[in-house]
């Protein structure tokens, strides 16, 4: 197993196309977390998200000849695949039937709270409680957002992606991304205030 950390995604892809699977493994190392997060955010369930991540990488691998580096980055292309896979899962009849009998995925925690690493002082018990409540409210509220608003908003605020990249992943215009993010924010604020 070589050390490919210094190679760009593009170089790794070129080497994979020439038959080196080890180079593709490095792409797996680099992008598994972000693909999981996006899949998790759309499906709302850990196991489904892990399935989506595996399928997305397999698809990317076997369709690597179709990837066009002049149109998008590998990450964007991979996330486009992952989003489509996730949407297929949540729209599937099997999933709907399972959801009808159990609501388990709605109870699964999706986020963890990360306190500011720069702040040295520990918050007092009262502040900690309020942070925890804030966190739980946010998690509940995020689950109530329509998928498109939620995905656009989380890609922006959690993954720091540009409107352009989000528009490619979601296959919509940049002005639709603007609207979705704005409506998502507005909806969250309404739900929290309610």
């Amino acid at each position: 197993m070589g050390n490919f950390e210094n190679l760009s995604d593009q170089e790794l892809i070129a080497r994979t196309r020439n038959g080196s699977v080890d180079h593709f493994d490095e792409l797996v190392n680099r992008h598994t977390i972000v693909v999981y997060r996006v899949a998790r955010s759309i499906t709302g369930a850990h196991e489904e998200a892990e399935d989506v991540v595996q399928e997305s990488f397999l698809r990317a691998f076997s369709n690597l000849d179709k990837f066009d580096e002049s149109k998008s980055t590998f990450r964007t292309w991979l996330l486009t695949i992952a989003r489509n896979q996730s949407i297929n899962i949540i729209g599937s009849f099997r999933r709907k039937a399972l959801k009808f009998f159990s609501d388990r995925s709605d109870d699964e925690p999706e986020f963890e709270f990360s306190s500011n690493p720069l702040s040295q002082e520990l918050p007092d018990a009262e502040t900690q409680l309020s942070i925890k409540q804030q966190f739980q409210t946010m998690e509940k509220v995020l689950k109530k957002l329509p998928e498109r608003q939620r995905t656009a908003l989380l890609l922006r605020s959690q993954e720091g992606m540009s409107y352009d990249e989000i528009s490619t992943i979601m296959n919509i215009s940049v002005s639709s991304v603007e609207s979705l993010i704005f409506r998502g924010r507005k909806k969250i604020i309404e739900l929290v205030e309610r």
Binding site: R17, T32, I33, R40, Q54, Q134, R156, S157, R185
Partner: protein, 149 residues
């Protein structure tokens, strides 16, 4: 502009994509509009909360599981036919004829069965996709895709 339009601009401002002229217009509106100022404060605080929560990480074993499945996967189609690029010089009918002669009793068997029975090089085995299709299926698919070009 309506309040709701200004509020949409607040969202763009937070993401750093609001144009300069619109930004100045928004800032002077915020000075005199309590409703939009309230929306601004709420959106700033929402952004801060969203930054504090992090999506959970996948299991450590996930990347490993993917690699195991990739290793078991046949190479991508580009790599497969890239390796046989000389075949593209041969007319499709000739290709079918050559393969048909050689196929004989192989028809209906999967590629792996054919390859292992005839002890072809391991490279070939790894290169050609085996989805349980018979060799004839693969040839026909290939011929069709060639014709389509």
């Amino acid at each position: 502009m309506r309040h709701i339009d200004y509020q949409k601009h607040i969202s763009l401002l937070l993401d750093g994509v609001l144009e300069k002229s619109s930004r100045e217009e928004l800032l002077s509106h915020l000075e005199e509009c309590a409703e939009c100022m309230h929306a601004y404060e709420k959106m700033v605080s929402l952004n801060e909360t969203l930054e504090k929560i992090r999506p959970l990480l996948p299991d450590h074993s996930l990347a490993h599981k993917i690699k195991v499945r990739i290793a078991a996967e046949p190479q991508s189609t580009a790599a497969v036919w890239g390796g046989f690029s000389f075949l593209k010089q041969v007319p499709v009918w000739a290709l079918i004829a050559i393969l048909a002669v050689g196929i004989g009793d192989m028809a209906g068997k999967t590629l792996t069965e054919v390859m292992s029975a005839h002890d072809t090089s391991h490279n070939l085995e790894n290169l050609i996709q085996d989805h349980g299709e018979s060799l004839t299926d693969v040839v026909i698919n290939f011929a069709q895709s060639e014709n389509g070009q």
